[in-house]
Subunit: 390 residues, 2 copies
Amino acid sequence: AEKSKSKFLNFMSDIMKTAQADPRRVIHSLKAGLAITLVSLLYFICPLYGIFGVEAIWALLTVVLVFEFTAGATLSKCMNRGVATLLAGALGLEGVILAQRLGNKVKPFVLGTLVFILAAGSTFCRFIPRIKARYDYGAMIFILTFSLVAVSGQRVDGIFDFACQRVFTILIGGATCVVISLFVCPVWAGQDLHNLIASNLEKLANFLQGFECAYFECSEGKDNPQKSVLEGYKSVLNSKASEESLANFAWWEPAHGRFRLFHPWTHYVKIGALARQCSYKFETLHRYLTPEIHVSLEFKGKVQEPCKKLCWEASQALKALSSSIRTMTEPCDAKRHLENFKNAIKDLKLALETTSLEGEELMAVIPVVTVASILIEATKCVEKIHDSVS
Amino acid sequence: AEKSKSKFLNFMSDIMKTAQADPRRVIHSLKAGLAITLVSLLYFICPLYGIFGVEAIWALLTVVLVFEFTAGATLSKCMNRGVATLLAGALGLEGVILAQRLGNKVKPFVLGTLVFILAAGSTFCRFIPRIKARYDYGAMIFILTFSLVAVSGQRVDGIFDFACQRVFTILIGGATCVVISLFVCPVWAGQDLHNLIASNLEKLANFLQGFECAYFECSEGKDNPQKSVLEGYKSVLNSKASEESLANFAWWEPAHGRFRLFHPWTHYVKIGALARQCSYKFETLHRYLTPEIHVSLEFKGKVQEPCKKLCWEASQALKALSSSIRTMTEPCDAKRHLENFKNAIKDLKLALETTSLEGEELMAVIPVVTVASILIEATKCVEKIHDSVS
């Protein structure tokens, strides 16, 4: 009993965490419930049931399979489903007519062969990366509809009426999904992508600030920055998949808020890739925060000023870039910080050149030199991000 | 015409590339075609059609939705579908009986409310990470089946017969998928994960070898290593998602080849994470291969020997680890290389300590020092991978 109680509590805390992480999830669940209940009305309301009969299950099926979190994903699936259903339906009817002409004896063989060829073909197409990214669901529905029509053609009389009825119920289901996901508290994939990229840049900026503080000031007794600040960049490391799928969904979305139709979403993916490049460098830097690494404090003191300035200016530039993405304005502030940190790089290089190493243990100098040199590399990434944002 | 011709040629070359990248994809497509054609027989063969009638479409639907590339994924979806269908079916029948008792007038309201609550609840559950990873499809099928049963309960008489028939056809569809994906040229997610991790380690080893050659020997006129060798590690950077999903699917697979049931698949995910750590360091190293960076050749010459030894031993250790994963044996060879490269690290440190910097430009020394120091960090990752493999 104890164990199952703790399991239950665990589950409840999972639920709370999931809801707190993104409250739109709760709204989405209610929207999904609403959509499903709405299409159930096709069954519950007598006159409607009179029209569609048991074919109404296709509306239900469509809603369950097609309704997704973001408007773009729902639209993409609806479009895929719609086009694939029509295409496969037309092809299926053609196939049935062809098979009928060839005579009743060979009909099942012709239809069976057609089903096999098209099923194998479209399953294979789903492996092609370009198709997988945008039309995966469509290919699946194509197989499904084609084989349904082909096998039904073997049996059901009046296949045209039956096909029309089914297409109509699927349209009802799809329309319900589209209307609810576009007009009831819509979640835009584009907006999410936009925010994700901006917040990723912010996380990088926070890391640089936190790193500056943790690496150069701890010895002076200041508070260590929080772990969450220093490890925020880790989520940037693995954000590739979500950025790309959001960009794919955003492509389907109509104009909304400050975004036009055909907003350059792929541009966000590029900025995201550069931010990831930067986060790889930070991963290497992060290693040097462990206190076990023996460093020469004297040497560290000598490069401290330009390094701190570099960190500060780069993090300010990133913050300015992030807010210029958020507000969709030209990154003027960032440009100023960029100039400043180019100067800081020069100062740092000068400091490294002029510092005498006499009396220093080289081994204790190396970690500091490495940090400085990775910092320079990382801030060059920031410059690339700036070029790509403006 | 020119344009559409080039588009067609493009598409054909995409097909060829996709097939060449993994020939099992062609076999999988044929398997999918076979499975769909087999369940179509429920329609084509008269006596079978006599038993199942139009309910046979559920077998077709199940095959299209459930048949996946790896055996583990197919099994996972089948189990999810089976359990969710039974659970939702039972709950749905309960709901219908309950609503019937409350009287015919309130029946649609009770059923509608139940559908809304359960649909919203299970949609929300799909956001919880632990459920999403393993039971996402099950939750979807749960909503679908429950609402289907509930709304059908409003209309169809003899709902029990009808439910039994549908469960039976779904079982036929699921069984077809399982049999074909387990016994006809099976693709094991576990085997794929195993190979992926081993080949990732190999890619890291190749990078180290290539880096050694490109960084230290080019000046002597040797051939540059191929770009593919030097950039192979890039695929390791983003392998997290595929490793985790393969591990999830592998969990469902029965014993096969050298793998027992409940093989420690999560262990592979851990090794994969360490390999990724290492690849982040390589990403930083890779930057230093650009010829524009001005380095002191004299200083480079001084640390060249231990650095080369370090690269060589670390890459040999990685290769040994990779092959010990492949053969599932203890990594004895790797242990020897590990000892060697620990010595190489000591030599390198010694070389760095004793090298006099007099007459050297510090700015030209820094890149070399940085490379040496990142190399040391990267090879420490190799040690961690070794500890985790053995």
